[in-house]
């Protein structure tokens, strides 16, 4: 039972990450590979504020969201000028930079040692995680059904055309990137508080690739797809746990599977399980 609850919490956290990334990749058609960076900013905000300053979990979560949104806004100012391959490359670079900040700003993050002893909020964590997922899900649904969401999809289909109608497309790209980062930070705060220990290795580029695999597998531009993707991709490698590989090999095995899934999907089903948009 404990194990089942653990899985549901993990799936909730990764569903939030998937939903947030889907707004950028699925709905707006921008290939961002930087989600783990904002996930990490949320996690470190909660870890540092809770252990160092004794701030309450919910406040640290909000501050983490603001911090991630601020970082995304600054990067997005530059990033929103690009599209396609260059967008992917620069966002990937941003992830590499943030990772090295986590690793090397030792006075703040304790570097590779990580931050232990992060407390949990009072109610059962399962409820907190599910409530967060529900809030994020309905917020995303509201967003994509609004006129703002329709503009995003129009940018994805034909940016030039929508510019002719007078839309400042880079403002929209910047806005959705910032919103997406704030939502990813929610997942980061949950993760830090749930696992009670974080170190930089969780927020490397591999993690961004994993989140990316979740939304591609579940389906781009479909919110249920992101939850479905998280469900499958968390449960699938859990099977490896029972095969009995040593932990180091099992971690690499997971990466191998995610890589192969990305290749297989691109070859045979680029829209994923229930996606509405093909890359």
């Amino acid at each position: 039972m404990e194990y089942l609850i653990h899985l549901v919490i993990l799936i909730s956290i990764y569903s939030i990450l998937g939903l947030s990334l889907n707004l950028v990749v699925g709905y707006t058609g921008l290939l961002s590979v930087a989600q783990a960076a904002f996930y990490g900013i949320g996690a470190y905000a909660t870890a540092i504020l809770m252990t160092g300053f004794g701030i309450n979990f919910y406040l640290s979560l909000v501050l983490g969201m603001i911090l991630a949104a601020l970082a995304a806004f600054l990067v997005g100012l530059v990033l929103s000028k690009f599209k396609g391959d260059y967008y992917a490359l620069v966002s990937l670079g941003f992830n590499v930079i943030i990772f090295s900040v986590f690793l090397n700003w030792q006075s703040l993050t304790r570097g590779p040692l990580g931050i232990p002893g992060i407390p949990r909020p009072a109610p059962p964590f399962l409820l907190v995680a599910l409530a967060a997922l529900a809030l994020v899900y309905f917020f995303c649904r509201f967003l994509v059904n609004s006129s703002f969401g329709r503009t995003l999809m129009a940018i994805r289909e034909d940016e030039k055309a929508i510019q002719i109608f007078g839309y400042q497309t880079h403002h929209f790209k910047l806005a959705i990137f910032t919103i997406s980062a704030a939502l990813a930070a929610v997942a980061g705060s949950l993760f830090a508080s749930y696992i009670s220990f974080i170190d930089p290795s969780t927020f490397s580029l591999n993690e961004s690739v994993f989140i990316f695999a979740i939304i591609i597998f579940g389906g781009l531009a479909d919110l249920r797809g992101s939850v479905l993707g998280a469900l499958f991709l968390i449960l699938l490698p859990e099977a490896l746990r029972f095969v009995g590989f040593p932990p180091d090999v099992a971690a690499q095995m997971r990466q191998l599977i995610y890589g192969l899934i990305l290749i297989g999907l691109m070859l045979y089903r680029p829209q994923g399980l229930i996606g509405r948009y093909k890359l």
Binding site: L31, V96, Y258, L267
Partner: protein, 288 residues
């Protein structure tokens, strides 16, 4: 040891390594027009193949290096044949190819870590003590001199192939317009396959040389890839001389950048250079 000459020497070595990656990346980008992120992983494949032959089969040094280069080339060729070619034939967008190559990168990196563990390995154990050269006050090792010479030789060789042979003309034709190249009777898929072989083999050599200079680990592909790709973009994507020029510029900016601030900021410096170029001169130093 003087600081400035040493920084110059370090910059030249870093630039040489990035150049090797950028050369192959540019060749492949020229004919396929997509960002092959798996290119960095092929460098790691080269390094580990040589490591395997040296450590477990005790092969002769030169043979092990040649085999490492060939295996990297072969893996690149097979990736094209079984993954990229089917996607191209389906007219998949550049984004699909990019995501597929991200998958390839992740899978190869994980596979190498499973086979050889994620530990850092040094290849220089197998070549004994190295001679050291003094270059106007900066110190470089024998391996680093070989790296520099290889870059010069390979750049000359590639430019000869591209400009003087029928194969090179076919490559140029495909880079300009694949459809037209097909119409005039060039077997484009075959040529692109060969380009993948050559580009990946050069990347493999980069991985092997890094292995002798410092060492190899499964995750080094990303650092090599980013250096090479940034070099290629800064220099002018698709232009092989531009790639070399851009890579050396990157080498210098990185190494002089960390003169005053700490070395961990190398990646950040590299990306600031890239971003500045993308904003102010997106076509790179040498426009194609």
């Amino acid at each position: 040891m003087e600081i400035v000459p040493q920084l110059v020497a370090n910059s030249i070595i870093a630039g040489s390594i990035y150049s090797l990656v950028a050369l192959g990346f540019n060749l492949v980008y020229g004919v396929t027009k997509f960002f092959n992120l798996a290119h960095g992983a092929l460098a790691v494949v080269g390094g580990y193949t040589t490591f395997y032959f040296l450590k477990y089969l005790h092969l002769n040094l030169y043979l092990a290096v040649v085999l490492g280069v060939l295996v990297a080339g072969l893996v690149g060729y097979l990736l094209d044949k079984f993954i990229y070619l089917p996607l191209r034939q389906r007219k998949a967008s550049g984004m699909v190819l990019l995501v597929a190559s991200l998958g390839v990168f992740t899978a190869i990196q994980a596979l190498l870590a499973i086979l050889f563990s994620s530990q850092f390995q040094t290849l220089s154990l197998y070549i004994g003590p190295q001679r050291i050269f003094d270059l106007f006050g900066g110190i470089i090792t024998q391996t680093q001199l070989i790296i520099l010479v290889s870059v010069l030789l390979i750049t000359i060789l590639l430019s000869w192939i591209l400009n003087q042979t029928m194969f090179g003309k076919a490559v140029k034709a495909i880079s300009d317009d694949e459809e037209v190249a097909k119409i005039v009777g060039i077997n484009t898929n075959k040529i692109i396959g060969y380009v993948f072989f050559i580009g990946s083999a050069v990347a493999g050599l980069a991985g092997i040389l890094v292995g002798f200079d410092t060492g190899i680990e499964p995750t080094m592909g990303m650092f090599l890839l980013l250096g090479g790709v940034i070099g290629a973009i800064v220099g002018g994507i698709g232009n092989i001389y531009g790639g070399v020029l851009g890579s050396f510029l990157l080498g210098f900016v990185e190494n002089f950048g960390i003169w005053q601030i700490s070395g961990e900021w190398k990646a950040a410096i590299a990306f600031i250079l890239l971003t500045l170029f993308l904003i102010f001169r997106p076509e790179g130093i040498m426009k194609k």
